[in-house]
Amino acid sequence: MDIQVAKVGVVSCSGEEIPEGTLCRLACRKVLDERPGETVTICLPLFIAGGEEERTFAQNYPTITVDGCDKMCAAKATEMLSGKPARSLSVPEILKKHGLKPPDKLRHFGAGEEAAVQAVAEEIAKAVDEVLEEE
């Protein structure tokens, strides 16, 4: 008999135009790499460019969206095109909560951005735990 292991979908804003978009990607990637058995992801534009399999992502997995600005593209796109997210996280709110400044560059993150990446990754991991518990 197959044992179904619950997985949580993590959908990141890619925010090419803002440093918080890079922060989102790095933090999501960190969680995905550290918890490969419990998390999956999808490239957000695949909700439009992909097929049926991609559009049913949020119906197949309870999903956590992570956004870099108040336009909340990841949350809105997931709800509009796939299904209502289980959790919607906002990077500006997380940084505020942790007393951290937003990054000021688009690429080549290093030691100066590590605390912000770590804080966002921890909040995502916490949300993964909560969603898995609810499942």
Binding site: E17, R29, P45, K71, C73
Partner: protein, 138 residues
Amino acid sequence: MGKKHKKVVVLPCSGIGKVFGALARETAYELVERVRPGVATTTCLPLLVINDPEAVAKVKENPVITIDGCPKECARKSVEAAGGRVAKAHEAIKFYKEHKDLKPEGVAEVTETGRKLAEIAARELAKEVDELAAGEEK
């Protein structure tokens, strides 16, 4: 000669899981920040997915160069779905095929070799940016 443009939008793939997505992104930043600042610009691809009016206007009013990370071509398809005009479409892997000595690595961000490849790719794409800005699209 066609219409001159103040800006050329360079739009990379948003891929979060593949090295060529990261290479696409690095190439776009290289163009926007170092090689053609002031002319090359970008926007957030997810803004097109949610039909953000400012982002949609940007890709409708300016020529767009897309750099995709995989054959699913999210960047190109998203611009077209938003009603924008893709002037040039590329897949990032082609830059590696042309420069096999520079194998990019890294998923969220490319490492040093990938950065070198992105510098070369950006210089190559700069010619297209110049042509499109001058209204000399081929």
